[in-house]
């Protein structure tokens, strides 16, 4: 398996001035207006939350290693899975790719000097931290036990845990997300450099646009829903409480009206990353650009009309259920379009297997499994059997971890040289990619089986006959945990010791790669003019240039 990194022979020097050495004070970070630094602030913060969420996950898997309750009581177990879900979804996965790489890379890709509203951008981060503080406080005070879905009337009346604190955490983080989405949409509309028309934007930018649309349209609804739930808990006013004349299913409708589109907030950015990586490491123009771009938008739009598939067994009308079932299956079409286009891009490309590409290939497989099992769940009759079993848990982990987190790792490895100016050790990075893939499948594949056999989610005990599958899962989780620690170590190591990357270590197309690594403080000295299409790899395939010659060409330019 050859890699592009192996072919690199030329020596590079670090640029003299870049955004990282522009200033070193704490203040220059905490009051920064630079989108690149804001992106890194997010990277640190979400890594912290990933660690917390991961700790809760380890506790869950530890408890489930045996059928009996040995580590936790039922109540403590409820807290563990609730905190795991809340932290991972609201404080890691939703901000992950958009807030880190959307902030850092997207303005570079469109030739902008910054996002449209840099102050607002910084404010988003502060809101995120403010919400995160509530999240940490919730944890310290004993957590919350409602599940990440906060279903009423349990959350509004019966739960004895810190529901309001946790609700506030998600509520405030939501505003951070709204402002980020708004900022990105304006940036993409108004800040593109001359020549970058809508259909010449890199596909990552399309992904960001579709994601922002959902953030802007959907997040206010979860805000109002959580607000009403908290008011109801505080005052017992009865909007969602059947004992007071309210309707708990209304809460579910409102909750999923946001939270189903929110799953596309998590996956669309990842799909954008994969399009970039696949093209760069197949050295080929992306296949079906228009289709990939438009499928992002249609996923975002369709995603608003399928929320009822979470309510098949909640007393929703069966006719509504049929419509929701049908539209849900429709979403699989644009998703599949993307997968086929990526495959067609790889086909007859000159593929190299650097770490980002390994993650991208993993993504295609794991996302396909996750998406297809989603179609199973969209079938109403089948869902009556599988709803609230481990089958659902496996489904959404295949899309969220196998898909979104894998794409996050791809992005991190693809753009790390751009961000830090240094390469990470190749062998280790590929080993970690394999370990994550293996550990992931070991953890979650058995859950499909045990869920199909009927094991319900959210219980800390189970019949003995399911222990083998659960042990496999817990063992896989151990591999996965180790596999996530490895990149932390070598990435930190590379900051000092990595080989100097140079502007374009992957020989990729795109405006971000013509800048020095790390990029200068104000990105482009003057607004660039772009003449050609994105993914102009055609030339490279038709008459392969020797790497060193190409390097020289770059230096002259």
């Amino acid at each position: 398996m050859s890699t592009i990194a192996q072919q690199g022979a030329a020596e590079h020097r670090m640029p003299r001035d870049h955004f990282l050495n522009a200033a070193y004070t704490i203040k220059s970070w905490l009051l920064t207006m630079d989108h690149k630094r804001v992106g890194l602030l997010y990277l640190f913060s979400i890594s912290f939350f990933f660690l917390i969420g991961g700790t809760f996950a380890s506790l869950i898997r530890l408890e489930l290693a045996t059928p009996e309750a040995d580590l936790m009581e039922a109540d403590q177990y409820n807290v563990a899975f609730s905190m795991h879900g809340i932290v991972m979804i609201f404080f890691f996965l939703i901000p992950s790719i958009p807030a880190v790489f959307g902030n850092f890379i997207m303005p570079l890709m469109i030739g902008a000097k910054d996002v449209a509203f840099p102050k607002l951008n910084l404010m988003s981060w502060y809101l995120f931290i403010f919400g995160g503080t509530f999240g940490v406080l919730t944890t310290l005070l004993g957590g919350v036990d409602t599940g990440w879905t906060f279903y009423t009337p349990f959350s509004s009346t019966y739960s004895n845990s810190n529901v309001i604190l946790a609700g506030m955490a998600a509520f405030i983080a939501g505003f951070s997300s709204i402002l980020t989405g708004l900022n990105f949409m304006v940036t993409i509309h108004k800040m593109r450099a001359p020549g970058i028309t809508w259909f010449k934007m890199p596909l990552f930018v399309w992904g960001m646009y579709a994601t922002s649309l959902i953030m802007v349209l959907g997040t206010p609804v979860i805000a109002i829903t959580l607000a009403l739930m908290m008011v109801e808990r505080g005052l017992q006013i009865g909007i969602f409480d059947p004992a007071l004349g309210g309707d708990p299913v209304l809460f579910q409708h409102l909750f999923w009206f946001y939270s189903h589109p929110a799953v596309y907030i998590m996956i669309l950015p990842g799909m954008g990353v994969i399009s970039e990586v696949i093209a760069a490491f197949s050295r080929k123009r992306i296949f079906g650009y228009d289709f990939i771009a438009m499928s992002s938008v249609s996923i975002a739009v369709l995603g608003f009309f399928v929320w009822g598939h979470h309510l098949f067994v909640s007393g929703q009308s069966i006719y509504a259920g049929m419509v929701f079932s049908f539209i849900t299956m429709l979403v699989a079409v644009p998703s599949a379009i993307k997968v086929f286009n990526w495959m067609a891009t790889i086909y007859r490309g000159s593929v190299s297997y650097d770490a980002p590409m390994l993650y991208a290939l993993g993504f295609i497989g794991l996302f396909s499994v996750g998406g297809l099992t989603g179609v199973f769940l969209a079938i109403m009759g089948l869902d009556i059997h599988m709803h609230d079993t481990y089958f659902v848990v496996a489904h959404f982990h295949y899309v969220m971890v196998g898909g979104a987190v894998t794409a996050f790792m791809a992005a991190l490895h693809f753009w790390w040289p751009k961000i830090s100016g240094r390469m990470y050790p190749e062998g280790w990075s590929r080993l970690a990619a394999f370990l994550i893939f293996a550990g992931f499948n070991m953890t979650f594949f058995p859950q499909f089986i045990v869920g199909y056999l009927g094991m319900p989610r959210r219980y800390h005990v189970y019949p003995e006959e399911w222990q083998l599958l659960n042990i496999m899962s817990s063992a896989g989780a151990t591999v996965l945990a180790v596999a996530f620690i490895v990149p932390v170590i070598y990435l930190l190591w590379s900051l000092k010791n990595g080989k100097i990357a140079g502007p374009n270590p992957w020989r990729a197309t795109g405006l971000e790669w013509i800048l020095s690594s790390p990029p200068p403080e104000h990105n482009f000295p003057t607004t660039p003019i772009v003449e050609e299409e994105p993914y102009d790899y055609g030339e490279i395939i038709e008459n392969p240039v020797h790497r060193d010659e190409e390097e020289k060409e770059h230096e002259h330019a």
Partner: protein
């Protein structure tokens, strides 16, 4: 790669732009367009936000129509109507303030912003009076709600829950608007705006019209269910 980093058509020298132009933009047109689009998107998020209320309201109104009529007829149509007039008028004065900003007439901007401020205050004072009556009558859901009249107290309380949540959130928006007007007044006073740069006034105008518009929906939906009770 044939990307040129030559200055683009509207590229500029680094130091030739006015202090109110932010560094990330190429020219004032781009900056103003961005600000406008940002405000429209923000209002879109507000529509979705209030949308949650309106949805809940519609469902319970159709489920407990009779109770909603009773609850509604207990509201003070006169004060509500007065508030409607106050807000609509304030939208007019706000529009004049924006026009004055376009023309660069500082005194007119100040006058119209102050008028808008006063009308907004009238609204808040009326709201305060209404709320204190409700408090006095024991009509605050979850706090001192006690229904002694005809009808089903529980679903009437639901009506009042919506009344307070919706008008409360709306009132919060008015309050934020008033704070922003004061901020704008200071900026106008300090001559921060020009005929080229008045986007904050214009966009605040959009916000204020939106807040007005929400009230125009709230008033009939809350005060006039089942027709005017005279």
């Amino acid at each position: 790669m044939s990307v040129s980093t030559e200055a683009a058509a509207h590229g500029h020298e680094v130091h030739d732009h006015p202090e109110y132009m932010r560094h990330q933009f190429d020219d004032m047109e781009q900056q103003n367009d961005a600000a406008n689009l940002g405000m429209w998107l923000f209002l879109l998020t507000e529509v979705m936000f209030f949308g949650g209320f309106f949805l809940g309201y519609s469902i319970y109104r159709s489920e407990y129509y009779d109770s909603f009529v009773i609850g509604s007829q207990n509201l003070d149509v006169f004060l509500g109507g007065l508030n409607t007039v106050a807000l609509i008028t304030s939208s007019v004065t706000m529009a004049f303030a924006v026009r004055a900003a376009q023309l660069g007439k500082k005194n007119h901007i100040l006058i119209f912003l102050v008028l808008t401020l006063i009308l907004g205050l009238v609204f808040m004072v009326n709201k305060y009076i209404e709320y204190s009556h409700k408090l006095h009558d024991g009509l605050i859901p979850g706090y001192n709600f006690l229904w002694t009249g005809l009808g089903d107290g529980q679903s009437i309380q639901l009506f009042y829950s919506f009344y307070f949540c919706m008008t409360g959130t709306h009132g919060l928006h008015v309050l934020i608007g008033l704070v922003l007007i004061v901020w704008l007044l200071i900026r106008v006073w300090q001559d921060k705006f020009t005929t080229e740069y008045y986007a904050p006034i214009e966009n605040f105008g959009l916000y204020w019209h939106f807040v007005d518009l929400v009230w125009i929906f709230l008033f009939p939906l809350l005060y006039l269910i089942g027709g005017l009770a005279v």
